[in-house]
Symmetry: C2
């Protein structure tokens, strides 16, 4: 650990800004979703991921990877969403160990009802404040990191 590479001003500014902003935005989103629909952000993301799928269903593990939560957290949230009638569990045809999380009609309607308010927040604080160039640079930058982290 002798030769530590500290961050210079540019690097530190970028890192600090990224860190604070991601936390602040997360808090704001959580607050909006809770007030508008009694949903947490992970719960909302689960609905989105399922809705994005052709048959509105996905394996537990894949879903957990997509939403970026632990397997146990996903189990907990799916149980929660199941009780709310937004998601159902189904046995996987091709693998007896597998469990499919399936978006219900009520879940789809809930998502359609909640999405506008959520997107309004994402726009108001992030998307609408950035130029086209900034959006594109951010995407390439984030993807480099994301790719490195998914391994």
């Amino acid at each position: 650990m002798t030769d530590t590479r500290w961050l210079d001003d540019t690097e530190m500014a970028a890192w600090r800004a990224f860190l604070s902003t991601s936390h602040l935005l997360e808090r704001r989103i959580e607050e909006q979703l809770k007030a508008a629909a009694g949903l947490t952000h992970p719960q909302y993301e689960i609905l989105v991921r399922l809705a994005d799928t052709p048959d509105r269903q996905m394996r537990m593990t894949e879903l957990a990877r997509g939403v970026v939560v632990s397997k146990s957290a996903l189990t907990y949230q799916i149980t929660r969403l199941e009780k709310a009638g937004l998601v159902e569990r189904a046995t996987c045809p091709s693998d007896d160990r597998g469990v499919l999380a399936v978006l219900t009609e009520a879940g789809m309607r809930c998502l359609e009802r909640v999405a506008p308010g959520h997107l309004a927040v994402v726009r108001a604080y992030l998307v609408d404040r950035l130029t086209r160039d900034e959006l594109e640079v951010m995407t390439t930058a984030m993807r480099k990191t994301e790719r490195a982290l998914r391994e």
Copy 2:
């Protein structure tokens, strides 16, 4: 809510990439800090903020704002760090309600010991993968959002 402005491909890609990456990176950092020093990321950030200060102390509320956690979460973590001997509480001279969180010598040494490994992660997955331009664009972009959220 009739006229919903959905996100186009560029916007959605940016938002998704940002979201996934921030969560993945958070997980990775948490894992590294836990393994290297038994610290959580918020705990580490508390030490950093205090160390950045001239007299290594800060009011609870200001610290909570900086680290972006709730007041109660900060109370909890400061108590935790106090038990570990890394931080002390002091009464605020100018305000009897106030509490100062003070970084101890042990806390400073702990930070100096842990920082290299932490920064190595930040570099390996984020900073070192981005060009100078990308770093600068990210900073301006993040700051616009951060500023909007701090109000």
